[in-house]
Symmetry: C2
Subunit: 148 residues, 2 copies
């Protein structure tokens, strides 16, 4: 189907290690494309690379554990369905709508977390600004010209 790649290439493309990819599969965060008999090489697509990148990003930016991440992405399975099932002509409108709703809820959960994080960051930023200003004032009082 799509240009198929092996685990090493995926790791390099996603900026991580082979072990991490396998580990994510172990804990159910990832599944190699296509059925695979134990022992044979795992095969992936570009989409998988994107997924790995996204997992790493969410983990880092939102500071969630891989367990929480699994919950957060639970409905992401729907995203896979969206590619495999959604495109099929024999998928009903009703079914498609359900898939889309799942995907929507999924995205919205992530957005909520992003919003919370952003609010916290803003607060921190405001306090840092304040401290910065205070220090500049004190320097000024000393008759010193601050750097910038």
């Amino acid at each position: 189907m799509t240009a198929t790649m092996r685990i090493g290439e995926v790791a390099r493309a996603a900026g991580t290690t082979v072990r991490t990819i396998r580990y994510y599969e172990e804990i159910g965060l990832l599944t190699a494309a296509g059925d695979r008999v134990s022992g044979s090489h795992r095969l992936y697509t570009e989409t998988d690379v994107d997924r790995v990148k996204e997992l790493l990003r969410l983990k880092d930016l939102l500071g969630v554990s891989l367990d929480e991440l699994r919950e957060l992405i639970a409905a992401e399975e729907a995203r896979t369905l969206l590619r495999e099932e959604f495109r099929s002509d024999r998928t009903s409108s009703r079914r498609r709508a359900a898939i889309l709703r799942e995907a929507l809820a999924n995205v919205q959960r992530q957005q909520a977390l992003v919003e919370r994080r952003r609010a916290q960051l803003d607060e921190l930023d405001a306090e840092l600004q304040e401290r910065n200003a205070l220090i500049l004032t004190r320097l000024d009082e000393l008759g010193v010209t601050p750097v910038r």
Copy 2:
């Protein structure tokens, strides 16, 4: 001097555990106020509570390790000096300026990290918005009225 408190109260006030406070001292992130002979109770001030809160926040929001946090806060010692030495009348203007400059550099390092994080968050947010919009469009194409 200031209203003095013990480790349990500090932990409660900062929303963490006694063990964490001791651990932070172990790795040099924190120092109990005043000289202390081994075995006697650690004593803290309100300022220490703020410091612990800040440490927890930076760790969480910026996603840095405690080691990195120590580097990041290195010059924070200057902040303590700022309270003890800065207020002394026998501290020269030149010395005060130096202390302030240290504090300034310190704050600015933190601000830089906050900025980077914010930029990353913004990027993530933009992509989520896009996905959200795409899903809504598809739902619309199906003639379904999305929730909200």
